[in-house]
């Protein structure tokens, strides 16, 4: 079996004196989609933010491609091949759709290939092509989510971190967003997906971790988790 792309060991995150994440351990293998599910406040987004160096961990190690990355500067991460699609999308509202996508490729210098990738993103997300000259702030929530994902893909990541892609979207848009996630995953992308919508997340993932108040309490193949009575009761509303 191949070496995992990402290995997180004993990761702890604290806000003031309060432990939000209490020493969790998990890994992501190359090419797989892994879901991190759990209730609001379980520490999922904090975990992702720590991985993307948006906040400092209180302890533990994060190894990516065998290298410790918990001391990198936030702006160095994307060069390593890690892209985060942040919670709440975080598109640049006053930049156009195309400019947002170009920002995704900020660290790349292969002009011709950037142009090719732009076309590829537009093919994957045709709505963005229609609106390429519009300011991102004028897009709908779903379109902004697509844009945020397209922007992350423009950096040609090896590991894509998706934070609550369904948040605040209409059901039809949620469906579309997850179709895109699946499409990207099927092209071989490694994805770590944080999501409150456990059913959707597990449906597109190979494995899942269940987080409860700062701890990982359960892990298994996604299909098994979907059938797990505890998961069903707590997260699937059955």
């Amino acid at each position: 079996m191949a070496e995992p792309l990402l290995i997180v060991e004993g990761l702890r995150i604290a806000y003031g004196g309060i432990q939000a994440v209490k020493g969790i351990t998990f890994h992501v293998d190359p090419g797989e989609t892994v879901a991190l599910i759990g209730a609001n406040g379980a520490g999922k987004t904090s975990t992702l933010k720590a991985l993307a160096r948006q906040l400092d961990a209180a302890g533990g190690s994060v190894r990516y491609q065998g290298r410790e990355i918990s001391a990198l500067a936030p702006h160095e991460l994307v060069g390593q091949g890690i892209a985060l699609v942040p919670e709440g999308r975080g598109v640049f509202a006053r930049l156009t759709v195309t400019e947002n996508l170009e920002m995704g490729a900020y660290c790349r210098h292969d002009k011709a290939e950037i142009a090719d990738d732009l076309e590829r993103i537009f093919a994957l997300l045709p709505r963005l092509k229609e609106r390429h000259g519009q300011l991102a702030g004028t897009l709908s929530g779903g379109e902004q989510q697509m844009l945020a994902m397209g922007r992350a893909l423009m950096s040609r990541p090896r590991l894509l971190l998706l934070d609550e892609p369904s948040m605040g979207l209409a059901p039809i848009m949620v469906q579309k967003v997850f179709e895109v996630v699946q499409e990207v995953a099927s092209q071989g992308m490694t994805i770590l997906l944080v999501e409150q919508n456990a059913r959707l997340a597990l449906q597109v993932s190979r494995r899942g971790y269940v987080m409860e108040s700062g701890d990982i309490t359960l892990t298994d193949a996604a299909g098994t988790l979907l059938d797990n009575p505890r998961v069903k009761a707590a997260y699937l509303g059955e």
Partner: protein, 307 residues
């Protein structure tokens, strides 16, 4: 009619200078939400540095414009270094401090720079040698000099260049992205500290140009000149809408025109009771009006309060 046209010409020249300085205020505000009150002092140091070099070369037999250009070549790096240093030493440690702290620091930096300049250049007024063509041309009863034409054209060129940089280049895109959301810009791989430093450096380069212009135009410079000039340029930035580049340019030109026309006609309006030395009143009257009636400025979007 001739007074009117004359004041329009004077106002355009003055306004071009205000606009260049106002850009420095507005760029920094756009990215940090901070009013860099020391910016006027950077203009002053630019003016005195350029003047000193021009004075040294005045008798060298070099053509005037070349001497002025060498003066600028000396002033620009000095100003850029000071702008870079101000941000790094005074503002960066306060990046996460409450808003009042950097504001007070800005005033402190301003006092420090003024006093440093006083130590280097003394308290006296320095006259700018007449190396630039001051030949007057007459049009419809109003006069203008080559120098005035150069000032307006150079300022227009610098502003066009800046707009191109901000709107059409990868770097400008990163600057706009950082201004909007530094945390997300960082995710894209933008080194936000570099972008902020660069913003100060570019603003300071414009300040150097403005410093040379203002000292050449009035043939004078002294260590205290940055204070009032800075306040007026700040007024211009607020008039246009602080944080907005086009606003700073429009605000600068408008303020120059208002001041010139005001100074030209204040005697007539008040029956000679007030003279043109009340020129400075207009800028601050404009500032008060804008702050009361349209705090977001002429072309500014709503100024979002940053946490």
């Amino acid at each position: 009619m001739d007074i009117f046209l004359q004041q329009i010409i004077n106002g355009l020249v003055l306004g071009s200078i205000y606009a260049l300085v106002a850009l420095g205020y507005t760029m920094v505000y756009g990215i940090l939400g901070l009013i860099n009150f020391a910016h006027g002092e950077v203009v002053m140091i630019g003016a005195l540095t350029a003047l000193t070099v021009v004075k040294l070369l005045a008798g060298s037999g070099l053509p005037g414009p070349v001497i002025a250009l060498i003066g600028l070549m000396a002033a620009a790096p000095v100003c850029m270094a000071i702008g870079y240093g101000i941000e790094k030493i005074a503002y960066r440690p306060l990046r996460k401090a409450p808003r009042l702290a950097p504001l007070i620091t800005a005033i402190g930096v301003s006092i420090v720079l003024q006093n440093l300049a006083m130590m280097v250049w003394g308290r006296s007024y320095h006259s700018f040698p007449a190396v630039l063509p001051a030949e007057a041309h007459e049009v419809l009863g109003a006069t203008f000099t080559d120098l005035q034409v150069i000032i307006v054209l150079v300022a227009a060129g610098m502003m066009a260049g800046l707009l191109l940089l901000i709107n059409r280049t990868r770097l400008g895109r990163a600057m706009r992205a950082t201004a909007e959301n530094p945390a997300i810009a960082q995710l894209m791989g933008v080194n936000v500290n570099h972008i902020i430093s660069l913003t100060f450096v570019i603003g300071s380069a414009l300040a150097a140009v403005a410093g040379l212009m203002v000292s050449a135009n009035y043939s004078i410079a002294h260590y205290y000149m940055g204070f009032i000039l800075g306040l007026k340029a700040f007024t211009a930035a607020v008039l246009g809408g602080i944080g907005n580049l086009a606003g700073a340019m429009i605000g600068g030109i408008l303020l120059g025109l208002i001041e010139s026309l005001g100074a030209g006609y204040i005697g007539d309006i008040t029956g000679g009771f007030l003279g043109s030395h009340y020129q400075d009143v207009f800028a601050f009257f404009v500032l008060i009006l804008v702050l009361v009636f349209r705090p977001s400025g002429l072309v500014g979007e709503k100024v979002a309060e940053r946490a």
